[in-house]
């Protein structure tokens, strides 16, 4: 039999010390080992050992939350790789993007990153829609819903900050238009209601050089300062906060009774 040596080889492998040092349980074909497979694995132990059957149903969950998380991972990996070729300065940003297209090996990384980002925004929305439609924000999950809303905002911000980085006309003006709204923040933006009241004599305290938009852009218009600021926010600031919130989110999913279902 041709399979005989194969089988025995596999068996041998299974008996080896190396194998056993890694997998501390037998083949996951019985309940105990199947539980252990999840419990003893650092990546899998995010999950409980058991879930409701409804939580397994695509029709029910749409797999939107998982997809979002997966896309977050994709964005992290591709983003990390892109940082090797991208310099967030006004002189180089644009041409570095051009180079990603014209000469960098596997410059397709940028496409994956960008489309992944769009997909992630969509996935978050669908996730929210699903959670709402199944009423899963209701007690005891109110707090987790709130975390989710924050994560939605962060996802949009991640996408928005990343939008500037190619430093082309599309990017710059999208961000100019987007960030212009900040200048209308009541009291904090120089064209916001109430800003005109913040005045000592002739000296206005809120003007284009110190308002909310200025803080966002590090300047009166979208320039090198804004590029650097958005880069740091995009690569470090927001992902960090998002990662923390995600951890809380996942943890709360389990603590609040697992993937939701009728109580």
């Amino acid at each position: 039999m041709a399979e005989a040596p194969k089988k025995s080889l596999f068996a041998l492998l299974r008996e080896s010390q190396v194998w056993n040092s890694i997998f501390r349980h037998g083949p996951p074909d019985n309940t105990r080992n199947r539980s252990l497979a999840v419990l003893t694995n650092v990546f899998l132990h995010l999950h409980p050992v058991k879930v409701r059957k409804s939580g397994l149903r695509l029709k029910y969950t749409w797999c939107a939350g998982g997809t979002t998380f997966f896309l977050f991972l994709v964005e992290t990996v591709t983003g990390l790789l892109l940082m090797f070729y991208y310099r967030p300065t006004s002189e180089y940003a644009f041409s570095d993007i051009l180079d990603l297209r014209s000469q960098v090996p596997l410059g397709i990384m940028r496409e994956i990153h960008r489309w992944g980002a769009h997909a992630m925004v969509i996935a978050v929305w669908l996730h929210m829609l699903r959670v709402f439609m199944t009423g899963s924000y209701k007690p005891p999950r109110e707090f987790n819903w709130n975390i989710g809303v924050l994560l939605l905002v962060l996802t949009l911000l991640l996408s928005f900050t990343g939008y500037l980085l190619p430093w082309d006309q599309l990017a710059m003006w999208a961000v100019t238009v987007g960030s212009n709204m900040a200048r209308a923040t009541p009291f904090l933006g120089n064209e916001g209601p109430g800003a005109a009241l913040l005045k000592v004599g002739d000296i206005s305290l809120v003007h284009a050089g110190d308002d909310a938009r200025f803080a966002l852009l590090a300047g009166r218009f979208v320039g090198s300062g804004a590029l650097l600021r958005f880069y740091v926010l995009h690569c470090v600031g927001i992902p960090l906060v998002a990662a923390v919130l995600m951890a809380v989110h996942f943890w709360r999913v389990r603590k609040d009774g697992g993937i939701s279902g009728p109580l």
């Binding site: 059957k53 041409s95 014209s102």
Partner: protein
């Protein structure tokens, strides 16, 4: 365990199947991605180029092999055999030598080692001594002693080493004597095949031979491993400092064009198709020694397009013609690239790039199309309506209209304004009426009324004065002769006399057709006598005509009548229409009541004058003409100083279906300036008003090139063409040369002497010789070449000559006119000519005095009849040569005051070199200079003879040289 827990929610085999299929999909996707990333179009292009080069190299190898001198090879091989045999014979001797040499090598090594060791000890000891003595240590003296010892030891070892080296060298020399011949021959043989070998290496590089090398070639370019030593590589140039300027940003340029355009800087691909073609004019572009080497300038600085692109589409190629576009669409799927503000310039407009770096010059050498375009722009006076950088402060392009009645009649003017081309097909005056947006019957009625107004305004209150009646009668036949000979045709063309279209320089002055129907004879007479009386700023010079000559010319010019069927005349007045138009104009500026009051106060004539004034404002006539009341009105057109950088979406293409590019829009605008009104509803005041210029398609292309060259982007100072003192002098001079059309008559800097064609034509007609021969004959009978004028004549003479010319060349019928140069202008021209010939300004060295004995006598002999017989042709003051003046030559009595001494020497040595085609024969054959002079004068020394001639000539005329 309860069985319930063993439940599986899904069918594992199904999941496995899904897993298998999706993994296969993932694998396929990943591989596809890698391949997609790897397979770039430029790699195919590079492979093609390698194949092409291989083919060429193979042919070259064959040729080189055939070129190898077989006889020489045979000889070398035989010699080599002999040399080997000889070396074999002396083998024993050589062996012994070898042994000695080995020993010598050992000795060299040991002595050298000793020396080096001792040297290090010496350095260390010296350091210690210095240290100790610095510390005033007691041990310093002791150390010094030690140092001295080491020093002597060092000297000893050095000596020994030198000796050993000398021995070694001597032995090597001996060995050379035995083996040398063989080596030399080997080298000779290698040299014979050097060319072939070099080519073979090249071939191996582009087309590896043999299975091993071929597989290696595949390997090194394979996906994922192609980072090690690929032969297909992106070629890029990072031009220093040639950044792209975008507002506050400077993006470094990285030109990757040569990734595909591989043959550009190599010769031998001239006839190959793109992208491999050799760049034309290597002496100017790309080559290392040219002013624009590719590794410093790159490509996109001139051609534009996206510098970093490695793909046909991304690079923003732009087709030069619709055929090319069709071809590109087929081969490359070409389509206009959106979001590219600087796509490549179509080839025909590429000279538009020159100006950015070569700003502030009149002409850019090598950019013929741009130069001509610039001349055209100046000629037709685009700057009158459009502000453009570089055209500031120029005279208005057209004549003044402040004293029009002196010259012509309102009837003529009205008809002329309506359609200048109908009267004079080759005029520069553009056409405002009867164009795309104003030729409907109502429009024509309206515009005729407008013209009535304009004419009424122009003839209203002219400057007082006028010209007296003609003093006599002229002969048109003589007039024609004069016109064709005194030089009028250097600047003017007369259709009746032309066989081929006149060149641009010969269209410098107005075309004279129909002048007899246009101008009053009194005016013509006064004008040709002294143009500045009528038009102080005119460029028309004074030809110093006698009264009779002027009368003859007047008589001839009055015979030049308007084309058949052309009649002067104003349109009949149309008071209701006039009222409406005037009201319309007034209404835009005042209330209805005010309008009524105003209308009531106007007489019919007042209304016309008012309408005329409004229309002159609207059409901007004052851009080109001086018009009373509009002396300081600013121009009406859009500024064009940065037109070449204007965003394409800021051009209004209206409903005209043309490709949306700058050059297509500008071309269209020149071709049919009102077309963009097509399909739009506009009031008469809103309509486009740019007039139609009388350009041929080629001329239009030239003008577009110039307009495209007005860009916002400024290249860095380091790559700008900066003018040094000499070039500043040249530029200032060129501007004057340009303004006075010197090149219409003279050949200057390789261009001009366009009057020659008319002289040749005359020769053909009058002497009956063939056209080609006439042209080369005409060289000598045309105004002279003056490129070398700065080296030829004395500055002070030239100054006075320019201010008031006197005849120099008796055989020329054409006269140097009096331009009325100011001192500054004459000075500028002087500096220009001296800068052009790199001659000293303004002084020149007089030859040393006194002359050597016998020199004058020798010179006199040389000039005598039996020798060079100079005065057979040359005038000498009042002494005229025999025969017709057409065979005469310049007055040698002028040499003293006119010519530079050094130039005379050069001139006598080889006149043809300084002035190809001159009538002055070569007396001293440059090919056999030392034997070309007479043997019996000054000992047959040609240089002395020439010097003697010069010195003699300088004593002729006035006593400037000192008697």
């Amino acid at each position: 365990m309860p069985a319930k827990n063993e439940e599986y929610a899904r069918s594992l085999p199904l999941l496995n199947k899904v897993f298998a299929w999706s993994s296969l999909g993932l694998l396929a996707g990943t591989v596809w991605m890698v391949w997609d990333d790897y397979y770039r179009p430029w790699k195919r292009v590079q492979r093609e180029f390698h194949a092409l080069t291989a083919k060429k190299t193979e042919t070259a190898i064959q040729q080189a092999e055939q070129a190898v001198d077989q006889n020489a090879l045979k000889q070398i091989q035989e010699d080599l055999k002999a040399a080997q045999a000889q070396a074999d014979q002396r083998k024993r001797e050589h062996d012994a030598l070898r042994e000695k040499l080995d020993r010598a090598d050992v000795l060299v090594f040991t002595t050298d080692t000793h020396y080096k060791n001792t040297k290090s000890i010496y350095d260390a000891t010296r350091f210690e001594y210095e240290e100790l003595s610095h510390q005033n240590s007691a041990r310093a003296a002791e150390q010094q002693e030690k140092l001295r010892k080491v020093e002597s030891l060092l000297a000893e070892y050095k000596l020994a080493n030198e000796k050993a080296l000398a021995t070694q060298a001597e032995l090597k020399k001996q060995e050379e004597a035995i083996l040398g011949a063989e080596k030399v021959l080997e080298k000779k043989r290698a040299d014979l095949f050097a060319g072939v070998e070099r080519l073979q290496k090249k071939l191996a590089a582009v087309e590896p031979q043999g299975f091993l090398m071929k597989s290696f070639e595949v390997m090194r370019n394979a996906p994922l491993v192609d980072f090690m030593a690929p032969s297909l590589k992106i070629q890029q140039v990072v031009p220093n400092g040639q950044n792209k300027d975008i507002n506050f940003l400077t993006i470094p340029r990285v030109d990757r064009c040569q990734t595909c355009h591989l043959g550009t800087d190599q010769t031998g691909y001239e006839n190959d198709p793109q992208p491999f073609t050799t760049h034309p004019r290597q002496e100017l572009f790309l080559a290392g020694k040219s002013p624009h080497p590719v590794d410093k300038m790159g490509c996109t600085i001139c051609h534009r397009g996206l510098d970093r692109a490695t793909d046909f589409f991304d690079a923003a190629h732009w087709p030069d013609s619709s055929e090319q576009q069709a071809k590109w669409t087929k081969t490359y799927d070409w389509a206009p690239k959106a979001h590219e503000s600087s796509p490549m310039l179509p080839k025909r407009f590429v000279e538009a790039s020159c100006l950015a770096c070569h700003s502030g010059v009149v002409h850019i050498s090598g950019a013929a199309k741009w130069n001509k375009g610039r001349d055209l722009v100046e000629r037709v006076g685009c700057y009158g309506c459009h502000k453009m950088r570089g055209f500031e402060g120029l005279r208005k392009a057209g004549p003044p209209l402040t004293r029009l009645i002196w010259k012509t009649s309102p009837d003529w003017a009205a008809k002329w304004v309506e359609n200048p081309v109908a009267f004079r097909p080759a005029t520069w005056m553009p056409r405002f009426f009867g164009l795309a947006n104003n030729s409907s019957p109502e429009e024509v009625a309206r515009t005729r009324e407008e013209i009535r107004g304009i004419v009424a305004y122009l003839f209203e209150k002219p400057e007082p004065g006028g010209f007296p009646r003609l003093p006599g009668k002229g002969d048109p036949g003589k007039g024609e002769k004069l016109i064709t000979s005194v030089g009028c045709l250097g600047c003017h063309a007369i259709a009746r006399l032309e066989k081929t279209p006149p060149t641009l320089r010969r269209r410098f002055g107005p075309n004279l057709d129909g002048i007899g129907s246009k101008a009053k004879p009194e005016w013509i007479y006064a004008w040709v006598k002294e143009p500045k009386n009528y038009f102080p700023e005119t460029r028309m010079p004074n030809l110093r005509l006698t009264d009779q000559e002027a009368l003859d010319i007047t008589a001839y010019l009055t015979t030049l009548k308007a084309p058949e069927g052309w009649e002067p005349g104003e349109a009949a007045p149309n008071p209701p229409l006039l009222d409406r138009l005037v009201e319309q104009q007034l209404r835009a500026r005042m209330t209805a009541e005010e309008v009524q009051a105003k209308m009531a106060s106007f007489s019919e004539h007042d209304k016309e004058v008012y309408l005329g004034q409004r229309m002159i404002t609207r059409y901007g006539c004052f851009g080109c003409h001086l018009i009373r009341g509009f002396e300081t009105t600013p121009p009406i057109g859009t500024e064009l100083s940065e037109e070449g950088s204007k965003e394409v979406d800021r051009f209004d293409f209206g409903y005209v279906k043309i490709p949306e590019t700058r050059h297509d829009w500008i071309t269209q605008k020149l071709e049919n300036p009102r077309i963009f009104d097509q399909g739009k509803v506009k009031t008469s005041d809103e309509k486009l008003k740019m007039p139609l210029f009388n350009f041929t398609p080629e001329e239009r292309e030239m003008v577009v090139t110039v307009v495209l060259s007005f860009v916002k982007e400024k290249p860095p100072l380091s790559s700008t063409y900066l003018l040094d003192a000499r070039h500043k002098a040249l530029e200032a001079g060129r501007r004057l040369v340009q303004e006075h059309n010197c090149q219409g008559c003279h050949l200057l800097e390789g261009e001009g002497q366009e009057i020659r064609a008319t002289i040749a034509r005359k020769m053909v007609e009058e002497e009956g010789i063939g056209e080609e021969d006439a042209d080369s004959r005409a060289v000598a009978f045309s105004p002279p070449f003056i490129t070398g004028e700065g080296a030829r004549v004395r500055s002070d003479w030239l100054f006075h000559f320019l201010k008031g010319p006197t005849p120099i060349r008796p055989w020329l019928a054409a006269r140097m006119p009096t331009f009325g140069f100011t001192d500054e202008e004459a000075d500028t021209l002087l500096r220009y000519f001296t800068a052009l010939s790199e001659s000293p300004f303004p002084f020149e060295t007089p030859p040393p005095q006194p002359f050597p004995p016998g020199e004058m006598a020798a010179a006199k002999t040389l000039t005598s009849k039996d020798y060079f017989n100079c005065f057979s042709c040359h005038q000498q003051g009042a002494k005229k040569p025999e025969g017709d003046p057409s065979g005469w030559a310049p007055d040698l009595a002028l040499a003293n005051s006119r010519l530079r001494p050094d130039w005379i020497v050069d001139w006598i040595k080889d006149p043809q070199k300084l002035y190809p085609g001159t009538k002055m024969p070569t007396f001293f054959d440059p090919a056999s200079f030392d034997t070309s002079g007479p043997d019996d004068v000054l000992g047959g020394d040609e240089n002395l003879q020439i010097k003697a001639l010069r010195d003699y000539l300088l004593t002729l005329g006035s006593a400037r040289m000192g008697s």
